[in-house]
């Protein structure tokens, strides 16, 4: 009996101890933080380690070989091409996304009948699994049965029986990859901008109208300055997603034809996972990091600005 009472007292003492904020706060946070350190922090350090070794699947710890992997990657024409492609794809796609999403958000900002259904259709590219929707594009761009070719033939822009081979020619394959990236990121940028639009006070627009501003002037002098902060957020997210994506290239072209659409992420996959060359694969992946770091700093600045504004 006394023992049970003792345990009971100890338990309740333990509970009050646990209830103190200085104890409770870290205790509740600890599992999530531990998990993140173990499964994000540690693998990241391990990637850094791998890039300095000659590790392969057969010998996952490898030998220390200094910066040889980085030298190898920068001399490799395929890797240099992938590095350039990653930047060019991201830049081209994001410029198009920013222009198109601004136009689309302008058209959608005021409520209309059927807006819900329209928004669902517009958001499909973002909310559907990208590997599956890209398969749809693969079929649309098929070498022989492309529906686009059929339409071009119908319009007389392509001779009967001819095909464009969208994914078989470097220039067209390049365009196809960019188009699918734009297609995928456009909905996201648009909803972010729409959220920005909804925060613009109607008085400002009414006043501009009274002052005789046309649509362009209203956009340029009233909306754009107020939209800029959210547009930056959309741009940062879009940049990070496109820059680090391998799914579109993997499903659409496998990096082909002749590695002309290879990007860093897909090349890292082919070298590291398919080829088993862990060190070179990890090195190529790490080339993504500097840009991610810069983007993260900008995200933090955007967050800090918001904090000050509050």
């Amino acid at each position: 009996m006394a023992v049970a009472q003792g345990i009971g007292a100890a338990l309740s003492r333990g509970r009050t101890w646990l209830e103190r904020d200085r104890v409770l706060a870290p205790t509740l946070l600890l599992p999530a933080v531990t998990y993140i350190v173990l499964l994000v922090g540690f693998p990241f350090l391990f990637a850094l380690y791998l890039s300095w070794t000659d590790a392969t699947t057969g010998n996952p710890f490898g030998r220390f070989i200094g910066l040889a992997n980085f030298a190898l990657v920068f001399q490799d024409p395929v890797a240099s091409r992938a590095l350039r492609n990653t930047f060019v794809f991201t830049l081209t796609a994001q410029v198009l996304v920013m222009v198109l999403s601004n136009v689309l958000a302008l058209a959608l900002r005021r409520p209309f009948r059927g807006r819900g259904a329209v928004m669902f259709l517009l958001l499909l590219p973002w909310v559907a699994p990208v590997s599956l929707s890209t398969i749809g594009w693969l079929w649309i761009l098929h070498a022989r049965f492309s529906v686009l070719d059929w339409a071009l033939r119908g319009l007389g822009l392509l001779p009967p029986g001819a095909n464009m081979f969208w994914l078989g020619r470097p220039d067209l394959a390049f365009g196809a990859v960019v188009a699918v990236h734009v297609w995928r990121m456009l909905p996201f940028a648009t909803v972010v901008l729409l959220a920005g639009h909804s925060a613009i006070p109607q008085d400002f627009l009414d006043q501009a109208e009274v002052d005789g501003a046309n649509l362009w002037q209203k956009y340029r002098h009233v909306m754009l300055p107020l939209l800029a902060p959210v547009a930056v957020v959309a741009l940062l997210f879009g940049t990070i997603f496109t820059f680090t994506d391998m799914t579109v290239v993997y499903v659409l072209t496998r990096g082909g034809p002749f590695d002309t659409t290879q990007v860093l992420a897909s090349l890292a996959f082919f070298k590291g996972i398919v080829g088993g060359n862990l060190s070179v694969g990890a090195t190529i992946s790490l080339l993504l990091f500097p840009v991610l770091l810069v983007a993260a700093v900008f995200v933090l600045r955007a967050a800090r600005r918001a904090e000050v504004a509050w």
Binding site: L124, S133, I140, V192, V233
Partner: protein, 282 residues
């Protein structure tokens, strides 16, 4: 031009513009849907109008997907992984978000942004060391590998979302409960969590759909056909040699992507809203 005609023209232009964008966005899915029900002889005849059912529609591709491929298995696998990830995410996220929102004050807000930054670390940066981690744990070619790794994506995002949500709930009710003799954890369980149900539902839907969408880790860790999820099984394993079976491929891509898209659509506003209106980037 009268102002009425201008107004009308503007409205018509707006409808046309939105129409073009809707076609661009939805076309691949419409195309999957049409292809899924077309006979092969119709599909592979370049003379036929591809928008038209030149021959009667058929269910053979759907039947093929369910009987001759592992599509049904991949759907089940995706659901199992999704449920596993939801459970792990909730166990890690709910206490962490509470701590960040209620116990750590100003620092909690900063820490939640720091945790959010982890969400920006992409799978393509970590998949090679991660595949070694998975092998070391003996989890390669199992669904467990994905249940263990996917929370690296869901936990940072959901901790941030949920802590923002909890911060928006009034403190007074919990304080009143504690004055009435509730302990802190008691107030959390009896007062705050019931109020947080919408936020928790968002976390559940997000974790599930992000798991169902993921491709890179699933492609890297699982090579056995029977253990794949839909997002990898369909693009990787529905091809016989070099032959693409477009009918079954489109049927299964359509069937798998539309429900995931609908589920994600339910929470997208909350995601966007949290960094434009109420959250860290308001």
């Amino acid at each position: 031009m009268s102002s009425r005609a201008r107004r009308w023209l503007l409205a018509a232009g707006r409808v046309a513009l939105v129409g073009v964008f809707v076609v661009f966005a939805a076309f691949p899915f419409v195309w999957m849907g049409i292809t899924a029900f077309k006979q092969n002889s119709d599909l592979y005849n370049p003379q036929n109008n591809p928008f038209w059912f030149n021959e009667p529609p058929t269910l053979e591709h759907l039947q093929y997907a369910f009987t001759k491929t592992r599509f049904a298995r991949w759907v089940v696998n995706t659901a199992l992984v999704g449920v596993g990830v939801v459970i792990v995410t909730l166990l890690l996220t709910v206490p962490a978000a509470y701590s960040l929102a209620r116990l750590l004050g100003r620092w909690g807000e900063r820490a939640s942004i720091a945790i959010f930054l982890v969400y920006l670390v992409p799978p393509t940066l970590l998949f090679i060391p991660m595949s070694l981690v998975v092998t070391t744990l003996g989890l390669q070619n199992t669904l467990w590998s994905l249940i263990v790794v996917y929370p690296t994506i869901t936990v940072p995002l959901c901790t941030w979302l949920l802590s923002g949500f909890l911060r928006g709930l009034p403190r007074e009710l919990e304080e009143a409960a504690m004055v009435d003799g509730c302990t802190r954890l008691g107030a959390l369980g009896r007062v705050l969590l019931p109020l947080a149900v919408p936020g928790i539902v968002t976390v559940i839907i997000f974790s599930f759909t992000l798991s169902a969408q993921e491709f890179v880790y699933a492609l890297s860790f699982v090579t056995a056909t029977a253990q794949k999820t839909v997002s990898v099984g369909v693009p990787a394993d529905m091809v016989r040699g070099d032959i693409f079976d477009w009918g079954p491929l489109m049927a299964s891509a359509f069937l798998a992507s539309v429900p995931v898209a609908a589920l994600y659509y339910l929470v997208i506003e909350r995601f966007v809203g949290s960094f434009t209106l109420s959250g860290a980037f308001r």
